[in-house]
């Protein structure tokens, strides 16, 4: 069954957008009553100031292009959901998917993700993939002009593959997301196991693996019996000494 369109996807479809290249966020903002400025910002990635009908969005011109894009889409999410409110999104709110569903930042992030990576364009594209690996995900992120993190997050949530993504720093797990098809007890460890390829990259400066590598599941998951399974892992480094790992799980993990 085709999933119902989200608010952001409805906007895209109402504009006849049928290809990722057509997602022109400034033009979309205009259709929603918002104009966009790019200026250096010290205190935030982007901000929106608006009244009941019009809004001005400023995006940090110093940020990388794909982050600017996500930030603009995020502010459009606030414009769609939160008119009449004053909100400040702290740094820790970004990628903090433990936030409750009522968190306005999560609403704005979800809207942004749907706007730049709409399922009706993404799913047909990733259904052509045989497996998930970073090379394939990078191709998709290039097509949609999105960050690799945002692309992998949406690929995970699209439930097309038995996958988990997890972000770690040197001391703990920062956040993770898993495909809805995965059994709930497949929770990634709270801290990186030193035997993983991810730990080798983060702590020892090892190079990124060119393809997903097999690893005993108990290096990543600590539920009873996890040692009976094998997973694959492939990671890439993020800024601020963090790493994002893509884990592909065995069929036994599927609910």
């Amino acid at each position: 069954m085709t999933p119902a369109l989200t608010a952001a996807e409805r906007i895209l479809q109402s504009l006849g957008i049928a290809d990722p290249q057509e997602i022109d966020l400034e033009a979309i903002a205009w259709t929603q009553g918002a104009v966009v400025n790019y200026r250096p910002l010290d205190g935030c990635e982007a901000r929106i100031i608006g009244s009941s009908r019009k809004a001005v969005i400023s995006v940090n011109s110093r940020s990388p292009e794909r982050r600017r894009r996500f930030s603009l889409a995020h502010e459009l999410g606030h414009w769609h959901h939160h008119r009449g409110r004053v909100l400040f999104c702290g740094k820790d709110d970004i990628g903090n998917f433990a936030n409750d569903a009522l968190n306005p930042e999560r609403h704005a992030d979800t809207f942004a993700s749907d706007l730049i990576l709409p399922n009706y364009l993404l799913i047909p594209r990733i259904q052509k993939l045989k497996t998930v690996n970073l090379a394939a995900a990078r191709e998709v992120s290039d097509e949609f002009s999105t960050s690799l993190t945002a692309t992998l997050l949406k690929m995970t949530l699209s439930n097309q593959f038995p996958m988990v993504i997890a972000c770690y720093n040197k001391t703990k797990r920062r956040w993770f997301e898993r495909a809805p098809m995965i059994q709930p007890w497949w929770l990634p460890m709270r801290a990186l196991d030193r035997q993983t390829f991810a730990a080798d990259m983060l702590f020892n400066g090892a190079a990124e693996e060119n393809f997903p590598r097999k690893m005993p599941a108990d290096a990543w998951f600590d539920f009873k019996g996890s040692d009976r399974f094998e997973v694959t892992e492939q990671s890439f480094l993020l800024p601020d000494e963090e790493i994002l790992t893509v884990l592909t799980l065995p069929d036994a993990a599927i609910a």
């Binding site: 479809q13 109402s14 504009l15 006849g16 957008i17 049928a18 057509e22 022109d24 400034e26 033009a27 979309i28 205009w30 259709t31 929603q32 009553g33 918002a34 104009v35 400025n37 200026r39 250096p40 910002l41 010290d42 205190g43 935030c44 990635e45 982007a46 901000r47 929106i48 100031i49 608006g50 009244s51 009941s52 009908r53 019009k54 809004a55 001005v56 400023s58 930030s71 995020h74 502010e75 606030h78 414009w79 939160h82 008119r83 009449g84 409110r85 004053v86 909100l87 400040f88 999104c89 702290g90 740094k91 709110d93 970004i94 306005p104 704005a108």
Partner: protein
């Protein structure tokens, strides 16, 4: 600067709320019943005459214009009737446009394209147009009376301006027979006979024919589905397939309208970039005070404001100046927006 071609959207103002909003148009479009679609199909077929629209494209154009807000449906009007009226109007405009297109060349006997001489004493263009329109309306009614040769002949004679004895002579009938034709219950019955009667008495027959044409639309909109199905079948159209075809046309119209909307927005953004609204430096102190109220979460007065920052931390002095510029720009945009000023 002209941003009028793609106005910034936003919440509906009071005046806008008298008409369906674009999303409501979409909703009504998606809610059209198969019966509605069959009625619209029949009306489209009637209205195509005299235009260069291919079948389906007149309906598509009407849907497109509704979605783009070029024609707006008043809330109190039935959406089906609105689409029917739009098709009528679009077809009429198209006929007028076509009638203004005077060929400037033709093929000679050897098949070569030659320029036509342009004479200064051509017919009055307005008169030419009226004649053309009249021919189109007559053609519509003529089609409606398919199968009734005598009635068709009568319409043609009336359209030629004949009346009274001249008309009866032309038709080769006596007064009794003419009276019978006038009152004859055709498929559209009473309306046709009343209009025919009026046409014989008034010179404004074209206007009457137009009214008749509208009455026929109304009778289609108010008619039973069985009648509409029967008429479609008589035209060689499978009524069972019409709903799906109309749905496909509407989907294409949505796509075309959406792309047009996006293209206009892109143009408007370019235009905005090249000549932004005049955001006067204004009273920085007042702007600063408004910004402070917003940041404190107490906009005050009639302000209904949103302010949000992604990855926000303390504003630097430069950030604050930028925010004041944004606020000034917002005020300039509001002042350019006639709907906002009514709030």
């Amino acid at each position: 600067m002209d941003h009028a071609s793609a106005p910034l959207a936003g919440e509906l103002s009071e005046s806008e709320s008298r008409h369906l909003a674009p999303e409501e148009v979409l909703e009504r479009l998606d809610s059209l019943s198969p019966e509605d679609k069959r009625r619209l199909k029949l009306i489209e077929l009637r209205r195509l005459s005299g235009t260069d629209f291919q079948e389906g494209l007149l309906y598509q154009e009407a849907v497109c214009q509704a979605l783009l807000g070029e024609r707006r449906c008043p809330r109190e009007v039935s959406f089906v009737a609105f689409l029917a009226q739009s098709m009528r109007s679009i077809a009429s405009h198209r006929r007028k446009a076509l009638s203004r297109q005077v060929p400037t060349s033709k093929l000679d006997g050897s098949g070569n394209l030659v320029d036509l001489p342009i004479a200064a004493d051509q017919l009055d263009p307005e008169e030419t147009l009226i004649e053309r329109e009249a021919a189109d309306v007559v053609a519509e009614i003529y089609k409606l009376l398919e199968g009734d040769d005598e009635a068709q002949l009568t319409i043609m004679a009336i359209a030629d301006g004949k009346k009274g004895k001249e008309l009866r002579d032309e038709l080769g009938i006596d007064q009794a027979r003419f009276d019978y034709i006038e009152t004859h219950q055709t498929r559209r019955g009473q309306e046709v006979s009343e209009r025919v009667a009026l046409m014989t008495n008034k010179r404004k027959s074209i206007e009457e024919l137009r009214h008749l044409s509208d009455a026929i639309d109304e009778s289609i909109l108010g008619g039973s589905d069985a009648e509409v199905r029967e008429e479609l079948a008589a035209l060689g159209i499978d009524p069972g397939k019409v709903a799906a075809e109309m749905h496909t046309i509407a989907e294409e119209a949505k796509r075309v309208a959406g792309k047009s909307h996006l293209a206009r927005a892109k143009d408007a953004v370019s235009s905005f970039r090249s000549s932004p609204p005049n955001a006067s430096p204004g009273d920085r102190t007042a702007l600063r005070s408004r910004l402070q109220r917003m940041r404190s979460g107490r906009p005050g007065g009639n302000d209904s404001l949103i302010m949000a920052a992604r990855k926000g931390k303390d504003m630097s002095a430069s950030d604050e100046e930028g925010a004041l510029d944004d606020l000034a720009q917002l005020e300039a945009l509001e002042s350019e927006d006639p709907e906002a000023s009514k709030e």
